[in-house]
Symmetry: C2
Subunit: 338 residues, 2 copies
């Protein structure tokens, strides 16, 4: 019997369980509206390291180690670690994984990496290739800003459509058993590029990919937006979220009731000077590991669709005049309650 549902979706009959999660954020995220849901709030975004890149790596390392500890497991129990981040050559993940004795699969999906790594990590469990896996991602405002945009020291002005890269890392530990939130469907997305070239407006660039993956998930599974208690896109921000709600009306889906965007939620846009909201691999990672997972454990959400979204440009492709390709992967997480 095939495990496929429709053209892009995989049905996970063994329902991999999310046994434990850890969310670590920087001081700014820890001062935002979701602060009570994060496990660790750093006082210093350098986390005791001497560069922002090393700091990002150390935060991911800590998120992974904490998650293994929470689950009462050891590194040897985890069969595969699946991780990625925004740094060139995904250096944050590679240097975090260097000090962890677990076979490693590195991914790059820009800010879609949380749902991409969760997809791969959950499929490894569902197919009986592993007993335990970990999915993890990170981002860091200061390492991303100087890599993708300008030196921090310049203090360059931000455009109204800009988003603030989240400093943080989220890790999820998946296994076969236990009464925990579990994954039922994975919809892997296609790259969509509607010709948007402004790297300071990633929400607009990614919205078409979010719409395409959402639409395909509903078609493949026979579900509608109203079947979910919560639909959460990754980091479209305030503007990208609005575009998504508008564009998906063309397919007769209504997202006006139960839809949030992690980037739109993580900061207080009135008070925290973040323009359109948060972004970065860490954004949907810490919101899903913190706010979403903890509310599922409490029974506040029973069915959640997590749709991390990625803008797949590089500074080089933007300088060479290319537009910004977007991608989104959807993960259906369900839980009847403890």
């Amino acid at each position: 019997m095939t495990k496929r549902a429709g053209s892009q979706t995989i049905r996970l009959d063994n329902k991999p369980k999310i046994i434990a999660t850890t969310s670590i954020v920087g001081p700014k995220e820890g001062d935002g509206p979701l602060k009570d849901y994060f496990d660790i709030i750093l006082e210093d975004d350098l986390n005791g390291e001497d560069s922002f890149e090393k700091a990002e790596s150390s935060i991911m390392y800590k998120a992974i180690k904490e998650t293994i500890k929470k689950a009462g497991l050891k590194e040897q129990d985890i069969h595969y670690l699946v991780a990625g981040d925004l740094l060139n050559q995904t250096a944050a993940s590679n240097f975090a994984a260097r000090d962890i004795d677990i076979p490693f699969l590195g991914l790059y999906g820009a800010c879609s990496t949380m749902s991409e790594s969760l997809a791969v990590a959950s499929l490894l469990i569902d197919a009986d290739y592993a007993d335990y896996t970990i999915a993890a991602t990170s981002s860091h405002f200061s390492s991303a800003e100087r890599q993708f945009r300008f030196p921090l020291e310049m203090g360059s002005q931000r455009t109204p459509t800009a988003q603030w890269t989240v400093t943080g890392s989220g890790a999820m530990l998946l296994g076969k058993n236990g009464n925990f939130p579990y994954i039922t469907y994975v919809t892997l997305g296609k790259i969509k590029d509607y010709g948007q070239t402004d790297a300071n407006d990633m929400g607009s660039a990614m919205a078409p990919a979010a719409v395409d993956t959402l639409k395909q998930h509903f078609l493949d599974t026979g579900r509608s937006p109203q079947d979910y208690d919560l639909i959460a896109t990754g980091d479209l921000g305030m503007l990208g979220k609005k575009i998504t709600i508008e564009l998906i009306k063309e397919y007769d889906y209504d997202l006006s009731e139960n839809y949030i965007d992690c980037g739109d939620e993580i900061f207080d846009k009135e008070r925290q000077n973040v323009q359109c909201g948060g972004s970065g691999c860490g954004c949907s990672a810490v919101v899903s590991c913190g706010y979403i997972y903890k509310n599922m454990l409490k029974g506040n959400f029973k069915k959640v669709l997590l749709v991390s979204t990625g803008a797949l440009m590089s500074p080089t492709t933007s300088l060479q005049g290319e537009s910004i390709p977007g991608i989104a992967h959807a993960i259906s997480i369900e839980f009847g309650g403890k």
Copy 2:
């Protein structure tokens, strides 16, 4: 029944078939000792594009499209495309996949990406999540050289341990049926870092990872090097290959008879001025899609172990004084003959 063998290896009971492959190389690779095995040799390494990055992307696009055509399939038949490359934010893959209407999983494993993508693409088939998948990678001498080292115009001198990044792309199309070479085991590697800091000597940095994955593959499967007709590491080059043969003796394995390194084979080191040999994601990609696959079809090799190897540093981590983490994934490919 578990599908695991030992601590790091997955046994693929459904034996995903490699239905078709394409290898495309630049003029220099097409002038080397393996030239007769490549499908397409470019006359111009810009491939008609106006930048080396766009050229690399166009080569991967062509490799994927050709492979689908060879198999007599259409894009809609392929359920997932799994690809990665060396460019920042894996831009070559993202921009190739943008124009291909297939759900996409992006990976980063540096030069280990061919066996990493082959691992993920074959697991998706083995677990019945997909009917057809494609694994692809690329690299380009000129895009890599200016990103990782110096501007090409500088004409900087190369050290004796340097390797020449292969210009090329390889794609493999996997499916469930047919009389083709098939995948039996996947051993996913751990990151190994022995403290080597010289980015101009990646063979030495990656050799410990190759040794670790090879040793673990033999332990997990109960096989020995002599069970294979050919063992091929990715791009350790002349020096890394020597180190691998020496280091693995500690575990009582003898690689002196049937072991090649793709980077050691692809160029004529006497004539082509490449120091220790070839490197890059494209290296093990074009050698496995060309030389290895075609010799398997002819019955010259019945059992091959492909072990692509990756050096996971970035220019930033090297400038910040970090050593070079290495990784290697092993794929066992077998074929009784047509």
